[in-house]
Symmetry: C2
Subunit: 380 residues, 2 copies
């Protein structure tokens, strides 16, 4: 292998695949990043067994020559050092040359770096995924759906399946659900697929989806999603992102969401969020996060929290309207803030079926997004 | 106490005094911030016994009314919660009212916060400092001098006096020295004081000076420095910053700095720093930080580091000139980078008295700044 490549483009590719490098891997070769040079361009691969990311750099782009291949070949280089040194090289052009025994020389300006490489043949193969279950969607929509659900996965390993987000495709609708026993987040969207295209019980680690979200482009480009037995592939323009599908059956959460409500109210999202945030500050000091909400006849709500040591926060907010029974209800203000943060609308709708039943938080119109949090049972 | 105050100005004052709030204090009242309202304005005070900071907010500034005092008085409020909640209050105007038993009500827009306060009478008094040893200097110069020395203090507590920076004033010169047995940083400046004004063995914690640097204004305003027996006061326009002076006698470091040199070279600071930085990346992976420098006949220097596991970095840099013996010398690249970072000139001068003697790093001209690092004794 011998080639020259532009620093900026190599760096960009490195940044993408670096999301799959774990510092805790027990497989030594996975501490490396694999470099494949062909007559088409250079491909970088990194993997921590849960996630594998491959990024392709073409020979040229928009008339700019990025790579010159003198000799094709492959090598695995120590990832952490490779990533850092490439970023700091002095010249715009970088030469990479593979010598005997996987020794690799990197030259740039007045710098010469010799790296101890490993045999690319020993690098694990990426999963082979059949293309028969592909769906395509806009990158920014996928990004939003992940953001609106993945925060609500369980962070404890007691029920591993709950650390993932459930994906299902049926009736031309893609639905994501995350749930950690105290709260649930779900988002649905219409898909332009044939009616018989469907999958269910595809559960992907919340952590993995957060990594995917860092790579997904913001602009409206298409992402292909290919589902196989135990792997899912997200295919972007130059990036392949593979993730393991979690083992196990995701619990049925449909019964958790009430279908009829005793009380509904609409409120300005910003005012409500800011008030909860101030009450949260105090509740957090007491380590309980308990905040109380009282609905009044005059269509205002009172948000409060108190701590014997520090004091009390009381907030009064006007609602757009309240219908049904006026409730007193207590909840975890951190969970409420998490749910509110991803709503991104001017007004939100809160729905209740009593002080001991789930609270439903939704945008007052528009997208099919539902956040549920369980209330606290308090003595007052 | 009853007053209204503008949020922005209160917040700014809080940010300044918050640097003196420790989360580890064993004196409960120091978890609080003291508020004094007089007919002149509002004073905030915070202290962790090592540092005490007082910030004054006047009734009005540049024609803008900031504070309205309805009733003077004092109270101590829980600092962490007070700091966070003030920043998040909904309205620009904040009302603070002291009730019975140090209960304090804070009102802003639709928010009402009740805080459990403490008796201001029980808050420790600030040190009384005689004004007879005042010196004045430009804030930005003081800031630069601290930045150029404080990084080199010892971080281990084995010799507590070395965790501080030594200040001395003699012959109309102010000199700062920091030293941690492996390196030394010193900066001197001329002062417009009378010839008999002097002090010595004033040692101030490096940590404290870093906190002071966050508060010192960037623009060229004057700071008064008042030295007392065991306290030093930095007086800015609205802020008083008190620090304890460390106990003990600072060791004599004058003999550490060679007076004559066998070798001197001048090099572009940016090129040299970048090369050391790349060599450092590799040396850090081996946890040694050892980088080797070899001077060549053709007035180039070779910077290199190597690791049996990862490989080798070799850098070749042109110098402006080398005079004297050509040396091979090894040093801690992290210490070298720290020293280079505060030099801030286009060219730097390196001076040597042999491969086993201290390396002196200085700007090639201008300010009186000297960095010293000890070399490594290596086998090759």
């Amino acid at each position: 292998m011998k080639l020259t490549i532009l620093k900026h483009q190599l760096n960009e590719a490195i940044q993408h695949v670096s999301k799959a490098i774990s510092s805790r891997t027990t497989i030594p070769i996975l501490n490396g990043v694999k470099i494949d040079a062909t007559h088409q361009g250079v491909t970088l691969t990194a993997s921590d067994t849960d996630i594998s990311i491959q990024c392709f750099v073409p020979l040229e782009e928009n008339g700019l020559q990025i790579i010159q291949i003198m000799k094709i070949g492959s090598v695995v280089l120590p990832a952490k050092f490779f990533i850092e040194i490439i970023r700091k090289l002095p010249a715009e052009e970088i030469e990479i040359e593979l010598l005997q025994n996987f020794q690799t020389i990197i030259r740039s300006g007045s710098s010469e770096i010799q790296m101890v490489g490993l045999d690319a043949e020993e690098y694990p193969l990426l999963p082979v995924i059949e293309q028969n279950k592909t769906i395509s969607m806009a990158s920014d929509l996928l990004k939003a759906m992940i953001k609106q659900t993945a925060f609500a996965v369980s962070t404890t390993e007691t029920t591993p399946i709950l650390t993932g987000v459930l994906w299902s495709l049926a009736d031309q609708k893609l639905k994501l659900i995350a749930c950690d026993r105290h709260r649930l987040a779900t988002r649905e969207t219409n898909m332009d697929v044939s009616t018989d295209q469907q999958f269910n019980n595809i559960v992907i680690s919340g952590k993995t989806l957060n990594e995917l979200n860092k790579i997904l482009p913001d602009q409206n480009s298409l992402v292909d999603i290919v589902v196989a037995d135990n792997q899912i592939l997200f295919r972007m323009q130059k990036i392949l992102f593979y993730s393991r599908i979690l083992d196990g059956t995701y619990p049925d959460t449909t019964k958790l969401i009430p279908q009829t409500f005793q009380t509904e109210l609409t409120v300005n999202a910003r005012n409500f969020t800011d008030s909860i945030d101030r009450a949260y500050l105090l509740s957090r000091e007491d380590k309980t996060n308990i905040v109380k909400m009282i609905m009044h006849e005059d269509e205002t709500i009172e948000i409060s929290s108190s701590s014997s040591e520090l004091g009390k926060v009381t907030e009064t907010i006007e609602t757009t309207h309240i219908s049904g029974d006026l409730l007193k209800i207590s909840f975890n203000s951190k969970y409420m803030l998490d749910a509110l943060k991803v709503l991104d609308t001017e007004f939100i709708k809160l729905s209740f079926t009593g002080a001991m039943s789930p609270i439903i938080i939704q945008p007052d119109e528009g997208i099919s997004l539902l956040q549920l949090i369980l209330p606290y049972r308090t003595t007052n």
